[in-house]
Symmetry: C2
Subunit: 383 residues, 2 copies
């Protein structure tokens, strides 16, 4: 049906009506006292959501912009960067570091796997001259639905003395992610993910250790410059004209997150992801990330049954049931489909999605017990 | 009154209701066929508005982001850049070039003045070894309301062999600006200006001469990378997740501009700016840019009468008449106020603004003939 598509992709994600209506208001002046009072609340609530005492900067950009905002304020030509790659977005860190002239080494695993902390520990132990300045890693890998144990990995990186730079684009809000407690030095995220607003804003928080490296950066980014943003945060403003409407919407969305409580938001995502995984198994489908402990709470990647293609599944879900799920990226294209359970998602959405997936699979001739997915889903949701 | 503020600042500018309602629609998937068909129209209509045969890239960023997108794809450390500075935004080009390690020389004039083409010609003639690689300049200087003769300046730059990089943030749509015809090598603009949509998008177009310089750039920007954007335009997509809602709104706004006709849109801005200038003079107020031929059609900067302060004028206009005008920036703070006549502005808006300004000035004790401003305004509008 026209105007009926429900997004179950890993971003953009569903947006609450109240947020959409805020965004539809006429823009206000970005240097007005009204907008400053909005920003004051937003900056405070971002610190709550990011669970940090440090400032959280807002960029008008995609999440990739915030990734650039991290490395373009830290990396000098010739710096050694170790990139822990578990998918496309882990690889994006490596590409951005290379774009600034860094010498990049990767620890890379197959799609669906995560970084083994022992492998990282071993590699860093070999770096006896402490040449590795930065380690980049991904929390929830959007391209596979695998999630690294960021807490353990960052403690290993901290022990070595390098800086940890973490992509939390699809993890912040969806999964527990505690930069101050876990020793994440730089953490980035994006608005169209757990933040329940449309794409266009991205976030970064950095601690004092990261600021010391920033001070040695020869050519920090101008648009994403940390110092300009820190000064702006202190004055309840932004350095350049921001996406005013999206920030007004963000204010409402952050208040909703705060009201629900960040731990409850995390728990809701976990409950949804685990219930969906149980349903997928009950439908005789295979998960790209087999172990629950390696799974993102934001994205679930599913392999198609024999004889049924990803385009057929996606087309039927979209056309007959008005649900959009994502294809795999690059080498995973047509090998998996990805369901997002990220942001403004309730139990009813999960029930509808699993039900629609069952209806789709039956149409396409997959062999399974109709209702088995919903049974597993509901059993897990109601636990 | 609450919810009644009318923006007469140089951005954000008023947005048509149809555009706001488009923006309020639920985000669609940025990799969906629906969104590709939106982008296809948008890319085509941007070429129409920019009056160029070259691709126009869309960045999710402020206008400053597009300025970075220009220089961060062209400048190498040690390059010589000549910046023509007629205000804050001319100076921003210089700062961005410096942030990439360029050696920057400036030709700078006082606030309200423009670059004399003869001065540029003389300076470039002295550059016998052709060391100056890039010349940056501003079309409509948002901080002063002065506008350079870009056509003449760019022909001088072209003759010398350097690359011209032009800030058209507040000029594109408001003033004739013809990159292909005038030989502008790189031109940038922003969404919350003449494009009649909220802030959050910025644009860049570059010609083949600029691409040759890009190919020599050692560390092109990752987020703003031209090659990634060119490839995306060819596939009716964007390299990273864009501000989907703003692009859907942009599609509607561009169709409105096309329907009015870009020459008619330019002419409307000129008629408004010139009528406003006549009204300001009739109110015994002084213009920061005295000569009409140096004036932007987007922004008019006005000096306060003796004994009346800028904060008083702005406060009264806002509180009693629900009109927001801008203060001066930096050293011009509290020295001028700036009225934007940019984007979705009709004759009625001008009449209301000049009327409200008269009412404000009378309240604050300025000596003038009540009605004189409106008389001059309407006479000029009806010419």
């Amino acid at each position: 049906m026209k105007d009926k598509t429900f997004l179950m992709i890993p971003g953009p994600t569903p947006v609450p009506e109240s947020v959409m209506l805020d965004i539809a208001k006429h823009p206000i002046g970005h240097r007005s006292p009204e907008f400053s009072s909005v920003l004051k609340e937003v900056y405070a609530n971002l610190k709550y959501v990011f669970q940090t005492e440090n400032d959280v900067f807002i960029f008008t950009s995609s999440g990739t912009g915030a990734m650039c905002a991290a490395l373009e304020n830290l990396v000098n030509e010739g710096d050694k960067v170790l990139s822990l790659v578990i998918g496309n977005f882990g690889n994006r860190w490596a590409k951005i570091a290379e774009s600034r002239g860094a010498i990049v080494e990767k620890i890379e695993v197959s799609a669906g796997e995560v970084i083994n902390p022992e492998v990282l520990k071993k590699r860093l132990a070999e770096d006896t001259n402490k040449e590795i300045k930065l380690v980049t890693l991904t929390h929830s890998e959007t391209s596979t639905g695998a999630a690294n144990d960021v807490k353990t990995l960052c403690s290993i990186i901290r022990e070595h003395g390098a800086l940890s730079v973490v992509d939390g684009v699809t993890s912040v809000c969806a999964m527990p992610c505690k930069p101050d407690e876990w020793g994440i030095d730089v953490l980035v995220s994006g608005s169209q993910k757990g933040f329940m607003i449309p794409p266009g804003l991205a976030f970064l928080t950095a601690n004092e250790r990261a600021w010391k490296v920033y001070e040695q950066c020869k050519h920090p980014s101008f648009y994403f410059d940390w110092a300009a943003h820190r000064k702006a945060v202190q004055g309840d403003t932004t350095p350049y004209t921001p996406a005013v409407n999206l920030i007004v919407g963000l204010n409402t969305a952050l208040k909703m997150i705060k009201e629900e409580g960040i731990e409850n938001v995390n728990a809701r995502h976990k409950r949804h992801a685990m219930a969906l995984r149980a349903a997928i198994r009950a439908l005789n489908l295979q998960l790209l990330v087999p172990q629950d402990e390696n799974a993102s709470y934001a994205i679930t990647s599913i392999l198609p049954p024999d004889g049924i293609t990803i385009p057929d599944i996606r087309k039927t879900l979209k056309k007959d049931y008005d649900i959009e799920v994502a294809n795999g990226q690059n080498q995973l294209k047509d090998k998996i489909f990805r369901m997002g359970t990220l942001g403004f998602v309730c139990d009813r959405d999960l029930i509808a999605s699993v039900g629609a997936l069952e209806a789709t699979l039956q149409k396409l001739g997959h062999k399974f017990t109709l209702g088995a997915g919903l049974q597993a889903l509901i059993t897990n949701l109601n636990k």
